[in-house]
Amino acid sequence: MVDQPLLRIKELRTHFHTERGRVTAVDGITLHVEEREILGVVGESGCGKSVTSQSILRLFDEKRTVKYEGEIHFKSKNLLKISNANMQKIRGNDIAMIFQDPLSSLNPVYTIGYQITESIMLHQKLQKKKAYEKAVEMLRLTGIPAPEKRVNDYPHELSGGMRQRAMIAMALACQPRLLIADEPTTALDVTIQAQILDLINRLNQELNMSVIFITHDLGVIAEICTRVVVMYLGQIVEEADVEKLFSNPLHPYTKGLMKSIPQIDGDRSQALHVIEGTVPSLHDVPNGCRFASRCPYASDLCRAKMPELKIVKTGQKVRCWHYEEILEKEEVDV
């Protein structure tokens, strides 16, 4: 049997019922995560990257607001088909998650030790004392100094970076196969950000676990990921290995994102590139290519008909009618 990827998502659609009608925040996502790989998911806020990640763990309220479609295969199970009780066994145990703001994501009235041991005792059936030892060990692993003292601290008693380390310790307590990191560094200072990235990188190798790393920051992607998925308005517009994406971005949106990264040795007299316009509302999704309204290369075809996500020569996947013409034109320009 061929090596199966750890996680395989096929045509995932996540619909929300809102006061203003049904909204499809994730619209036909297909992607996979290999063993031990760090997959980056990048896009502006509102592009559906967080919804995708939370759909994997089915964190939304299925009774009232959300409806999932498609398949999410993990360890030969379709996560969208299994019972809630079985899903609870996977959450925090096989697949764990860390969030953007560690302060609001940690429960303020319990010590971090309590919050770490909670999932250890639940999933690994350890005694309280053993679980606390494990929690201290995890805190030490994430580089928190004096972990045997810190374990009794409340979240507000820690600094921002320490809190995110504690979050990571909590997520990794049961040695998950997959860690979903939803903008884990966005709320942190730059220096702390680098430390946390290093930590995730290190733990990825030491613990043999895969990571889905969600961010809006291409710089972070370059630093940590092996493969990247670019999302726009609920869809994947480009998928590529990280080197290829940076050396040869194909989708006009990806190109726009690349150009908006400030360069240290760049020309300072020139204004930073800005992608014109704003992301259309999910209540009002265009018929054709979703990026058409902001795309400098958009044609009538783009506005009328949605392009498919195609595999191209270089092994990349791109969702664009004109990527070849654009590429040729650019070569001429150069």
């Binding site: 964190l59 609870q88 066994k89 969030f99 609001s104 940690l106 303020p108 909670e118 999932s119 008693e157």
Partner: protein, 316 residues
Amino acid sequence: MKIYVLKRVLSLVPILFIVSIMIFMIIHVTPGDPATVMLGDTATTEQVEALRNELGLNIPIYQQYINWITGILHGDLGYSFFMRQSVTMAIISHLGPTVSLAIMAQIMAIIIGIPVGIIAANRKGSLTDQSIMGLSLLGISIPSFLLALLLILLFGVKLQWLPVAGYKALSEGMWVHLKYLILPIIALGSMQVALIARMTRNSMLEVLNMDYIKTARSKGIKERNIVYKHALRNAFLPILTIVGQSFAVLVAGAAVVETVFNIPGIGQLIINSIERRDFAVIQGIVLFVALVYVLINLVVDLLYGVIDPRVRLNHK
């Protein structure tokens, strides 16, 4: 924590000072001379003058306040000329039924209001939630004395299940005691049940939207534990505030309900004192309830510190 407690206690001083001035002023906002009002039109000038002296109305007003407040600090709430006993004694002898009634109404409000509010929050938008919210809106729209009358009409007059008036002390047996108090307790407690249920629901809904609830879910915690361990403890602070305030409201509300059921408590004492213009007793009772309110709020504040570690820190 010690400093936190001390700070809380000290912050009560200005409030109590203002409350004491307001209560002291009650007797002085009466139109006309209090002594004349108390004795009625038939009194002679000498009688009025004698009473004015006894009430201390002839000395400067600040001196009156100082005398009054010094007495209170020594536990002396004044003397009732109508009852021929000290106000403190009068209050103590009427305290039993009121406290019993208020405590039991409070217990009822808590053990019904909080779970019902949690259920409503958990099933937001469902028929259960809508019925609970509808009933609680009805609950806060019926004054306790009216509910008391309606209950008497139904259970006392129509069905004849329960006694409609009177009071039997706890010493006569728990069942007898309760039998006479059931209707008053329901009448008094219903509005607080409704208030606490509404507060609990709002508070729970707010907390259930927090990020840390999502974190707990992502750890695989069971839904029941998410609600009762992670959400409830955070939602508890505003609930606790309402519960704390409700006790003083219940003591005051007991005054009204007691008159409906002829229960010889503080309520009856104050109503009789109004008819007799017995200002010392009125002042004493108002001060007593204010003290209860302030002290319970203090306890609530201290409990905050126990429940929420952030509160302790902020006041270091």
